[in-house]
Subunit: 251 residues, 2 copies
């Protein structure tokens, strides 16, 4: 197998033009574009494995992926330029390095950091269109902070997971959130979630539910109940995709 | 004249969808949109005067304008919402206040601050598309800094002004730049120009010429000569509009 080299890719994208990370029949997902760039570079199919899905409209500052390529075809240092040459400008490979043969973008990950940006002011700044959740109503940040604390730690987050399509394998829904931080700079609120993993739409459901509480439209006991009932009850308050950024994958 | 009220507007816009600030026959300038929003609000023509032009594609974090409206029509506090209601989302009125009757957005200004953002790295970050000048080649920042120093102070900047259309009144081309600062954060270079006024395309010509020197494609003596020759020689190195931001108007 010495003629196969595993590459580790650091990829950033603006989520708006794409149907999420995961390959689609319509070929307009980020993964499709990256695989097409590999195929255009060396004239053969290369499968690209990401650290996980991001939904349509979700941005990535640092998605990680791996791909196996024939060693002889290109120097490691030449891949970044070759791939970017074939990618749309809204997707950029920021770094390509040689990975260990057993490195796996998804299974080797020990955690992830997501950030969620909220523009909390009556009017959305024109340079923030598509990059934040515009939330004109007042938010009680003390309640928001109290909610964050409830969510930190190890919990069964089934109440904060979107339903998968029927037939999708049931998965373990216990996750650990090491830390959630809230920072404010002017009208911009930023939530930063660091965890060992996140369920499908979990960050958007956590954010939407926290904001619902901070608006005074739900009680913090709702968060307690969602955690305690382990999926028997689910939240439906999902924050929109455009405020969410995959910020770092931890290995 | 007690039935006329002068309003001062603070306006931000993403420059990309518009043909600059200044009203166009095609009605797709920012000023056209703001005037249309006034007309839609009170059903009569209101003329809006900005602090100065910005070119097509140039962004504004804080353009200032004034407009005279009939006092009786709307409370001052109601104007912001009314105007934003009729404006495209890429233009937002961030503040409306009552101005003194002799306040003039252009003639009362004692200076302006522009910032110019340069992405100095081989590949442009996808979330910076349309917001920076992408400059992949290496820049000598010591030369850039030395160039800034030459430009500070009072000079005849005719060598850094684009030619106006024939028939445009000749203007005094002496301006004072109080300060130009350069800051770097990762791949992003930001130039900040504070001056008592800037000629047509002057900030883009200053930036383009400084960058040309920092690339090693022109000597700093070129800047000396452009200043000394007071317009007999002109630079043609204009940085693109998309990196430029009108950041503050000083009164």
């Amino acid at each position: 197998m010495s003629d196969i080299l595993r590459l580790k890719l650091l990829i950033a994208y603006d989520g708006r033009p794409f149907r999420g990370w995961q390959s689609q029949a319509t070929k307009d997902a980020v993964q499709d574009h990256v695989e097409a760039a590999f195929a255009n570079t060396i004239g053969e199919k290369v499968s690209v494995q990401g650290s996980g899905r991001t939904d349509a409209g979700v941005h990535a500052l640092a998605q990680i992926a791996h791909a196996d390529v024939p060693t002889a075809r290109l120097e490691v240092t030449a891949w970044q330029g070759a791939l970017n040459n074939f990618l749309p400008p809204e997707i950029r490979v920021l770094r390509v390095t040689r990975a260990a043969p057993d490195f796996h973008a998804r299974f080797s990950a020990r955690g992830k950091i997501y950030t969620y940006r909220i523009w909390n002011s009556q009017y959305l700044h024109p340079l923030e269109i598509g990059r934040v959740w515009h939330m004109p109503s007042a938010l009680d940040l003390d309640i928001l902070r109290a909610g964050l604390v409830l969510l930190e730690g190890q919990h069964d987050f089934a109440g904060f997971a979107a339903n998968r399509a029927p037939g999708y394998a049931a998965e373990d829904t216990v996750r650990t959130i090491q830390q959630i931080t809230l920072s404010r700079r002017g009208e911009l609120l930023t939530l930063r979630f660091e965890g060992n993993g996140f369920l499908y739409k979990m960050v958007r459901l956590l954010t939407g539910t926290l904001v619902r509480c901070a608006q005074g439209r739900a009680e913090l006991t709702f968060i307690h109940e969602l955690l305690a009932e382990k999926g028997a009850r689910k939240t439906s308050f999902a924050a929109p995709a455009e405020g969410l950024y995959l910020t770092r994958v931890l290995y």
